[in-house]
């Protein structure tokens, strides 16, 4: 349903993303794995057209998003493709209650009234297992812990029932135990909302726990692609081997 063809992004002459092509099937889970600065987040931002790619196509059900107007893109973002970010401490607006922020997403796309959007927001907060959501919706982001904020972000991203969720290192800023809770929650909402997910991470453990397919990215290029099982058991690229070796060394210690 989402196909990326020959995508390239340049910043000041440096190729951050270099001729990347892949596809995401309906209900699929695709991991983008690579070290910091490898260009994985830039791919995500380019799909959302939050950075403007130099070349390539991003086809959503056959329609090239890179050729659609900015006006039309605001109707795609949040409604058809959503994104959650790495740092839950800075990705919520400090001056609005979490209920308002989730409700805003609903009001933007579904033309609901204030009260209706609010109750939809409370329902979403319940769906991501925020306890006592009716009361918590009135709280501000600083009154939530990191894991809870990430749940709020997920509620915001899913409020308009998008088809695709891009998760940009959603667990990196969290404690190990909370990381697993969030992964668990993502699995659950993926099934519940019938989502296709692109999961960006540098952690092969998470790739293994969450994804069916994986792209290994280095210096803006795809160095290896395939199902998680085959890539992990039989890596062909030396870069993938190095990444996996690093993981094994840590595990052995």
């Amino acid at each position: 349903m989402l196909e990326v063809r020959n995508l390239s992004v340049e910043f000041n002459g440096v190729k951050a993303v270099d001729n990347v092509s892949f596809r995401l099937d309906k209900g699929g889970t695709l991991g983008l794995a690579g070290e910091s600065g490898s260009g994985k987040s830039t791919i995500a931002l380019a799909i959302m057209k939050l950075v403007v790619p130099g070349a390539g196509e991003v086809l959503l059900d056959g329609k090239d998003l890179l050729k659609t107007s900015e006006d039309e893109m605001t109707r795609v973002r949040g409604a058809r493709i959503s994104m959650i970010f790495q740092d839950p401490f800075t990705s919520l607006n400090p001056v609005f209650t979490v209920g308002e922020q989730v409700a805003e997403a609903v009001r933007l796309h579904q033309g609901m009234g204030r009260a209706e959007a609010w109750s939809a927001a409370v329902k979403m907060l319940e769906a991501v297992h925020i306890k006592d959501a009716t009361a918590r919706a009135h709280h501000y982001p600083h009154q939530f812990s990191g894991g809870m904020r990430q749940r709020v972000m997920i509620a915001m991203a899913l409020a308009c029932r998008p088809e695709i969720l891009i998760a940009d290192e959603p667990t990196t800023a969290l404690d190990a135990t909370i990381q697993m809770e969030i992964i668990q929650l993502l699995k659950e909402v993926q099934a519940e909302f019938n989502l296709s997910v692109i999961f960006i991470t540098h952690n092969f453990g998470i790739v293994k726990a969450f994804c069916r397919d994986v792209l290994v990215i280095n210096k803006g290029r795809i160095v290896e692609a395939g199902s998680v099982a085959s890539v992990l058991s039989n890596p062909r690229s030396p870069y993938t081997k190095k990444l996996l070796d690093a993981l094994r060394i840590i595990n052995r210690e």
């Binding site: 006006d71 605001t74 800075t90 990705s91 919520l92 607006n93």
Partner: protein, 266 residues
Amino acid sequence: MVKSKLAIFGLTVLGLFILLAIAAPVLAPYGPDEIVASQTLPPSSSHFFGTDDLGRDLFSRALYGARVSLSVGLVAVVISVLIGTLFGALSGYYGGWIDSVIMRFVDVMLAFPSIFLILAIQAMLTPNIYNVMVVIGLTSWMGVARLVRGEFLRIRELQYVEAARAIGCSDLRIIFRHILPNAQAPIVVAGTLGMAGAILTESALSFLGLGVQPPLASWGNMLMDSQAYMFDAPWLAVIPGLLILVTVLSLYFVGEGIREKLDVRG
């Protein structure tokens, strides 16, 4: 701690002045333009602030003058904050050539010594209270624009702005609903300090005869009227002077108080 006490003092004084100004028709013992006694009487129990060179009650004039001076300050600062915020927001959010054009315009405006600019404009227009408000507002927004631009440059890089874009917010929605509320505190500080400046400018203009026109009283033109009697009736100069001083000082205290509160958090 000391500063917050000063801020509370400032707020109290301002609140009191505003109440007195609003209640002027009730509180003033005489009409502001009414000739009620002999000229230049010193302060006494029947005329708290004495009488001026025409025999008008100075206390009544000071009350009515407060209305003019405070409302000129307030309206002028609202105009300057609105213009400054709009330009600053567009400049900081979009950057690029929009930023360059707006900021060069700000530089040009700042390059004029503003008091001469205001005097020149006022000399062409009929000097009345409304023109004074507008002209002061139109010539004092540049500081606010620079401040708001800086705030926008900082905030637009934060992740919640990107998150807002990712849920499908338009540029305008991001500017006014997501970024502006996060920039409001420094704007309030700038507005408070700007109001002090606007009151001083009004006084200066009226003192020079290009501001609020007699017989309408403002603290500035009361000062002007007192010039010739500086030695015979010093209270004519001292009283409006003190009123301006106390008001401006109070506004600075309040502004500094808010600024200090911000520093603690940020």
